[in-house]
Structure formats: structure tokens, C-alpha cells
Amino acid sequence: MSAAVQVTDDSFKDEVLESDVPVLVDFWAPWCGPCRMVAPVVDEISQQYEGQIKVVKLNTDENPNVASQYGIRSIPTLMIFKGGERVDMVVGAVPKATLSNTIEKYLG
């Protein structure tokens, strides 16, 4: 689907919760239309903030445990984690500006 790293129920703790930098997690599913719309936006964000944040994707069909743990309902849902905690989220195929404004709050 894109260049971003795919995380799983098994790797979520290491890749996301224990990350030294904030992490943007794109919760997506294969047959979700708006997930296709947001994927290129997520890729652009990944390039724009390279080194400052980590960007990963989680397929909710294949990884239901993490998706349920964080109460994912509507997809795509984009969640930001910092220091092992969920700090923010946006739901739906949002414009890039919305996503970058949300991320800016958690940098540094």
C-alpha cells in the first residue's frame, strides 16, 4: 500500500509504545475506500517529518487486538503516540494540513 512500515499486534509495543520519537499510526483496512485517499497523505507526512516522527501502518483486519484495545471504530483512524501513550487522533480521510497541524503539537 505504501512505503510506511507495517506494524502488527506482536510488534506494536516495540515499534510504537517504546519509540523514542512520536509515532503516527495509520489504522487501515484493505477494502476501505478513504484509506486509499489518506495513504499518500501519510506518506508525504512521513517524508516531511523524517527523523522527527515515526510513521507506521496497522491493518485492522489482520491485527484486531491492537485495533480493539484502542477502540478503533471508523477507519481510517490516525493516532499519535508519544512516550507510550495515545495523545491525539484524527478520523477519516483528512487533508494534509489537518494532520500536520495535529503532529506539530507533539514535536520537540
Binding site: F27, A29, P30, W31, C32, G33, P34, C35, R36, M37, T60, P64, A67, S68, I72, R73, S74, I75, G92, A93
Partner: protein, 121 residues
Amino acid sequence: MSATPQDTKDKKTLEAMRRFSERYAQQTDTYFCVDPSVTAVVIEGLARHKDELGSPLCPCRHYEDKEAEVKNSYWNCPCVPMRERKECHCMLFITPDNEFAGEQQEIEIEEIVKVRESMGG
């Protein structure tokens, strides 16, 4: 190669969901997305749920228990938010004022099959 019975069933469901989507868009004065691959994957997702669960549960949500959701019927397409307020967060049925609305209320089966094949199955 001849089609297996399963293939035939899948194609029938896909065609039924395609026709439902066209008809429902026309009935509600909504349009398909400017990017037809969005429309294609959603119709495919609805058809898969219809085959697996008996109802076209919305493919743009995560469920704890899909079978219970089907019985609950809230997110069976067309879902309650769509029927009440023309809200389709899956972007299958888009109101004309939305920037992502295209001009089509029709999609060819070939388009859906093409997108399916591009996803490897």
C-alpha cells in the same frame, strides 16, 4: 479455465452490490468518488461481507464481533447515518457539495475487477 462455483457466487454478489450502489446513488442524489478506485474497493468490501456474513456490513469500520454487528444492522449498507443524513464515511455515496464528489453514478464491473487484481487477489 472454467469458473469454480465459488468464483461464480463471488461475481454474482459483486455484480449485485455494484447495481445496488448505482441505484442507491441515483435515488439519493449522491455521486461516486472522483477516484474510481475508492468506489471499487468499497463495493468489493461490501460484496465480501455479504458473502461471508450474509449482509453488506460497512468495510470502513473495525468491529469486535462482525456477526453481532450484522444482527444489530446499524452498519449494514446503506447504514443508518446514510439513510438519515446522507453521511457515508466510506466515501461510496458522496453529496455533490463535497470536494471529493465526482460526476458519476455508474461504475463498470471491469473497474472493480481491475482494482481487485491490483491488490493481489
